[in-house]
Symmetry: C2
Subunit: 230 residues, 2 copies
Amino acid sequence: MTPAHPEAHLKSTATVRDVVIGMSDGLTVPFALAAGLSGANVSTGVVVLAGLAEIAAGCIAMGLGGYLAARTDAEHYQKELSREIEETREMPDEEAAEVARVFQGWGLTDQQIEPIVAAITSDEQRWVDFMMRFELGLEEPDRWRAVSSAATIGLSYVAGGLIPLAPYFFAPNLGAALTASMAVTLTALLIFGCIKARFTGISLWKGGFQTVLIGGAAAAAAFLIARAFR
Amino acid sequence: MTPAHPEAHLKSTATVRDVVIGMSDGLTVPFALAAGLSGANVSTGVVVLAGLAEIAAGCIAMGLGGYLAARTDAEHYQKELSREIEETREMPDEEAAEVARVFQGWGLTDQQIEPIVAAITSDEQRWVDFMMRFELGLEEPDRWRAVSSAATIGLSYVAGGLIPLAPYFFAPNLGAALTASMAVTLTALLIFGCIKARFTGISLWKGGFQTVLIGGAAAAAAFLIARAFR
């Protein structure tokens, strides 16, 4: 594997990626909620209150939700693993035929396949690994990585959410707070979109434009809904 | 592949899964926000307004965000695909050695590996497919599926979000609305957690307990934060 390949790059910077994910989500929804409430002309105190409540809720939903989903993935993997182990023991011929089928798909002749299947099925661990990866497409989840990832995303959501909310703490009135919040947040979304783009390999401008579009559209929708129902 | 294998099951019911994902998220955050604001003793009108603004924002963020992320995945796949095609043309020996390395990992001898590598590298399409899947671990994303999935999740978020909010439309006072919202939402979360559990293969009770825990913890956090800052 050459060092230029992207997966090594992705792993080494996974934490930065989690920060960006949490922050761009944290920027989007609290920003839109605050903008929406501003459209309904409530007091700035209410906007701050609702914003903080949303940040707390979103942080728990993303952090705890992410953690539990990772645990479920790990359990799902273990369950499938036990099933594959059982299957290789109870119906070895069918499972060996499934190994052969993978290689048939690559255009190998039965003569070429025979020793390969024999080599793979000679060791239970190897056989089960092969079935998990190539038949079910499952890779063993990294539990610790999932926990730290969930925590990073949750905390970044809080940090991101405080950016659009900050102007509402300090601005003299709701209109000024909304304007300042829009300026600060859309700039932050642009920056985070560009950073995100570096990880997914799309162009910086496209990445920046996408996060700004999501944030702007969410804020516009919240603003219009709140104004219609005030 | 036996019909009992879970991946066929998962695909055929992907839409139901998207509905459950969108709905359980929609139930969680708007529920927590409304509960949090109730703790700060604002008017029910403000709770409804904030709830509707949040639902609009969350729907756009999940729907549009999901759609754009899917498009980025597709572009990322295409970019890696072009790179692999280029690499098999410009440095075929190194790329063939990478194919051999995959089989060495399964304990095959060089003698067994030689014809396999020859068969795989004899066809560019097959060679590139192999590299994409087994070296980079990437599968071709289904664009249309991503679009319909994003739309389903976004709309289910709206439907889910209206459940905790409904009592605030009708209840005579904030306390009654909060109590009714908790009863309705925790029941709904329990049901959705059980349905979700069926897809991930964990026990129904565990699945139900997890979604109720996430919703309850998010609501408690929002409630405490809002009460502290009111």
